[in-house]
Symmetry: C2
């Protein structure tokens, strides 16, 4: 069984493992691609510390890309994080082209300067805005995006600015554009995959479900916390740019309390310390000072499995 997403991305099963910050590396990503999905190296893939240099950052990614290529012959991707001044973007684009990475993920910004070199090198573009809208879906289609990811509020971490669940956002976007749409947010088992397709998606984009796997670099403690948790346990609080969802940690509880007491989004964001708070929580398993981004689809996850078991189970309808 193939469809537009599997054909465009040249994969067997139309599933993308989301490029989560910190909790990806070559072994993990190659396992997803070897299982027939599309693995994605995320920001800080394979790293344990942060560099502020765009060039060093790109070189670290190059090393991880080469390692991934040594572990799989199947396609995989990296995110071309588009931030304000594009400082990190150019070295990453050069690396992608040099290393012939077949797929990239572009976030909010639609910029001709970024799209041109990617398209010229026949690199497939998955576009995933923070907040899916009819407007940015139509704009993405015009820009030549290959696949659009419609993320619902069921996801973890930095959730969309508009509180529209996966159930409602997917058909809305599917009706707005002709390019294939993948559903993100709340994909926890095969029922979620079937529902995504019923809603009109042609693929699924999953993050949380891949963290409690043997190959994932997240702390063992975090994997067990996910297995033991349900959607009811998750905390939601206001921060920049909108809301954040985390497993309960001492820091996350404090952020919820601050939000209730009327703290500004800037104040909660400052306490989160951006990517550092995520590294401390997810990679180091420090549930005092870090947070743990997880979506509401995790309830059915009851054991730590291999990546292949996760892909096989989720995509059992695709053979």
């Amino acid at each position: 069984m193939t469809n537009r997403v599997s054909e465009i991305l040249n994969i067997k099963k139309p599933i993308i493992q989301g490029p989560m910050s910190w909790v990806t590396n070559a072994e993990f990503v190659a396992a997803v691609s070897n299982a027939g999905g599309l693995g994605f190296l995320g920001p800080n893939a394979g790293q344990v510390d942060i560099t502020r240099s765009p060039e060093i950052s790109a070189e670290r990614m190059r090393t991880e890309i080469q390692k991934t290529k040594s572990l799989t012959n199947n396609p995989f991707g990296i995110p071309v994080i588009v931030n304000r001044d594009l400082a990190y973007t150019w070295p990453l684009i050069e690396t992608v082209i040099d290393e012939k990475v077949p797929v990239v993920l572009v976030n909010d910004t639609l910029d001709e300067r970024i799209f041109k070199p990617l398209k010229e090198n026949n690199i497939k573009i998955v576009y995933r805005p923070l907040t899916p809208t009819i407007e940015n879906a139509k704009a993405a289609e015009k820009f030549g995006v290959d696949v659009y990811v419609a993320t619902g509020f069921d996801e973890g971490g930095t959730v969309p600015e508009r509180v529209i669940g996966t159930f409602s956002i997917v058909p809305m976007i599917v009706d707005a554009i002709d390019i294939p749409v993948m559903a993100a947010g709340g994909i926890g088992d095969v029922r979620g995959v079937r529902a995504a397709f019923a809603l009109g998606a042609e693929g699924v984009f999953a993050g949380s479900v891949f963290i409690p796997t043997k190959e994932n670099p997240a702390a063992e403690k975090v994997k067990h916390m996910i297995v033991d948790a349900t959607a009811e346990d998750l905390l939601l609080f206001r921060t920049l740019p909108a809301y954040y969802r985390s497993l309960p940690t001492k820091l996350a509880n404090k952020l919820v309390e601050m939000d209730k007491q009327g703290a500004s989004r800037e104040e909660t964001a400052q306490l989160m310390r951006g990517s550092i708070g995520m590294r401390i929580g997810m990679l180091e398993g420090n549930t005092d000072d870090g947070y743990i981004s997880i979506g509401t689809g995790i309830t059915p996850i009851k054991e730590i499995r291999t990546v292949k078991e996760v892909v096989d189970t989720l995509m059992q309808d695709f053979n």
Copy 2:
């Protein structure tokens, strides 16, 4: 095609039209039941003003029940609103038993005194808590509830206290209990129905999709506003008990602004004036002083149809 929900409720198609305040009446509810679903008279069904007398309130409901019975031979239901002191509850229960209404909807409270007379009279009980939880689902099952409605945050009006979308809440509840679960929140077209079933639901509970119908007593202006709106247009603000979702009205915009400025839930609730604000908005079409409860599943609704057309389209897989 039958399933547990259609058998328990003695209906052809496993769909319940939610008992929405103000915007139901005998003609509308009978149309749903005649189309093979389960119509529900809502609070203030067929009324244009409020009475503070529990007895008069129950008598008004009795009149509407009798009118509904004159218009359909199929089952329909009424909600037995369980409020703090049960003042409105007893006269309603007497009316339900007197009039042999086959199905009731019970909201949050699970109270032996309420369940006993209903069960003794073989009245089917649909239980729909504001916030579905594993705990209240298990408790409802023990109490002898016949059908549990799992409402996701995709719904309109007073949404659940926990921000868990329909996509995530349905499988969570399905896994917790053995009685049949219906999905509510975001059912806008047949894709939503198929997705609900894919997630494990055995029926759907829909509100917003039934408002822009020829038979619904909502103001024509409101029906056209729904047809013209997408999920992106909806406003969400904090109030009692948690959050509220409305189409944009002058009042709703003001409530969003108050929430942003740090107003308390009590303050926004006071300005909403409870059921009165809904009557003014939805029944009278006053978009200055009222609000209009609508869920995020409305995007695919593009025209005003008959109730039968809505039921036939949503439930096209059930014949």
